[in-house]
Symmetry: C2
């Protein structure tokens, strides 16, 4: 057992991006039926992350809310856009110094990439790793991703707590619901809550002692011309093949004139977030990951 | 041969909806390489339908441009939103009374529904039907759709010409390119242009003398509560099954609590535009069609 105190408050966030409506409709469901997320040993709250963006059917109003949580930005009084202010409110409410400090955050997202059921860890704390190992053990579709290397600050909403994760499901278009993915996302939320309840009782469920984690090592942008316009698309052989091995020399892009562009790395990698709609403007055609086999601290019983 | 004059000018439109970028990038490609769309007997022009909506990554700025082409709206000086003005400009340019009258319009769209390669006919003129029969004969993936009944005015951009069609490809998320769909859309544009060139030479290519057309007969909205909020999702058994037969009693929706809602019609129908993202706000979960077997006028040789 990891030596830490109990989980007293969990916050479940949907709509950090206003057009990823799976999480929004799950939060609405939990608000109608709060008993679904209550467990005897902790309080569970819900939050609609970016209500203005949801109202206009966009990812964000002014700037991406899920990049607004760096400590220096939260403390910067000169940042006054809608999302930077919203981030400050969320932080001032749910962070450890907040008015309703949360011990664990679940942030629900979706992607146009074929992310399946991805758990993005908010930190590499053993507590998060052990939860991830549990989720992967009960559902083989679950993939575990670190989006940042160990020493980088994360600007994501889930960084308001040391413990927590982002749930990233796909492939699904922005602005729609997919009943199957909705149900699978809900099952993951319940599995997390059940795990936290069992942890609080000193009895976390069994799990494997090793965990394969996909760690992001770089991003690859689309080929672009001098004006910044893209000159190629994701290659059909790569489309929807998130988490599949990509070998050096295999095609990753196809130009509008039909020319193939190959991956020029020198080892096998595992691309994720392939053709995510929201990342065209961020200069990201895909994120390249490698697999890390993570050993877990064992419970002492 | 139908007794009508030759096609002298074709206009190819992309981005009538600013977040359907397949057509936008095809138009950009044709603008870089205009020889691709030139044929000796007619002029081919390109048009970016809604550049402001493309700039902000949305379907539209103020209102759906593809619902702005009713004659009474085009003549109404009180309609001054961006899209109603844009519609007037497009009409004043390319309609038969315009400054550069077009004889044929191709309007390129995409859908989050599994529309495959759909040709939506601008009118049921024999010329359009014969072109459709040709496209269906060279590619079995092509489906032919009438979106309106015979006596209704169509508010769509392609109604600026008597001859023309909307090309609706999917399933694809808004805001992304799919290389396979991009290439298939381009092949359809080339097939249309080649057909028009052959027609101009008095030598339209052979085609079947019967054509199956899917005619829209009604739309079905999501179940909604008193506030207008949806209470169910497309049923997993129906998702992506556009153009497949739907029998009375088969499930079409699944509520957020997991209850099935079945189709209550009394005959087999063929739903299309199932789970189109842009139609949530229009109150359309799917369009119900029936198949009409259309006899074609034969060439007299």
């Amino acid at each position: 057992m990891i030596n830490m105190s109990k989980i007293k408050r969990v916050v479940i966030v949907g709509g950090t991006h206003g057009n990823e409506i799976t999480g929004i409709y799950l939060v609405k469901k939990f608000e109608r039926s709060p008993h679904l997320i209550q467990r005897s040993s902790f309080e569970a709250l819900t939050l609609l992350g970016n209500p203005q963006a949801y109202a206009i059917g966009k990812r964000y109003v002014d700037t991406d809310l899920n990049r607004c949580f760096l400590p220096e930005d939260l403390e910067n009084p000169n940042l006054t856009s809608y999302e930077t202010q919203r981030a400050k409110i969320i932080y001032q409410t749910f962070s450890s110094q907040g008015s309703q400090p949360a011990d664990f955050v679940i942030d629900l997202h979706s992607s146009t990439a074929n992310m399946g059921l991805t758990i993005i860890l908010a930190s590499q704390h053993q507590f998060n790793l052990q939860l991830a190992a549990y989720l992967a053990s009960i559902n083989p579709k679950v993939k575990i991703l670190y989006s940042r290397s160990r020493n980088q600050e994360r600007p994501h909403l889930d960084s308001i707590c040391e413990f927590g994760c982002t749930v990233e499901v796909g492939a699904i278009a922005q602005g729609i619901l997919d009943a199957g993915l909705f149900q699978e996302t809900e099952e993951i939320v319940h599995a997390i809550l059940d795990y936290l309840a069992a942890y609080n009782q000193g009895n976390p469920p069994p799990r494997k002692d090793k965990l394969s984690v996909y760690q992001s090592i770089q991003t690859i942008d689309y080929p672009r011309n001098e004006s910044g316009e893209i000159e190629a698309m994701i290659h059909p052989q790569l489309q929807f093949r998130d988490y599949q091995p990509l070998h050096p020399g295999e095609p990753i892009f196809l130009t509008f004139d039909g020319k193939e562009i190959v991956y020029e790395g020198d080892s096998v990698v595992y691309p994720v977030f392939i053709n995510e709609a929201a990342y065209y403007e961020k200069g990201i055609a895909m994120c390249i990951t490698e697999i890390i086999n993570q050993n877990l601290v064992q419970d002492e019983g």
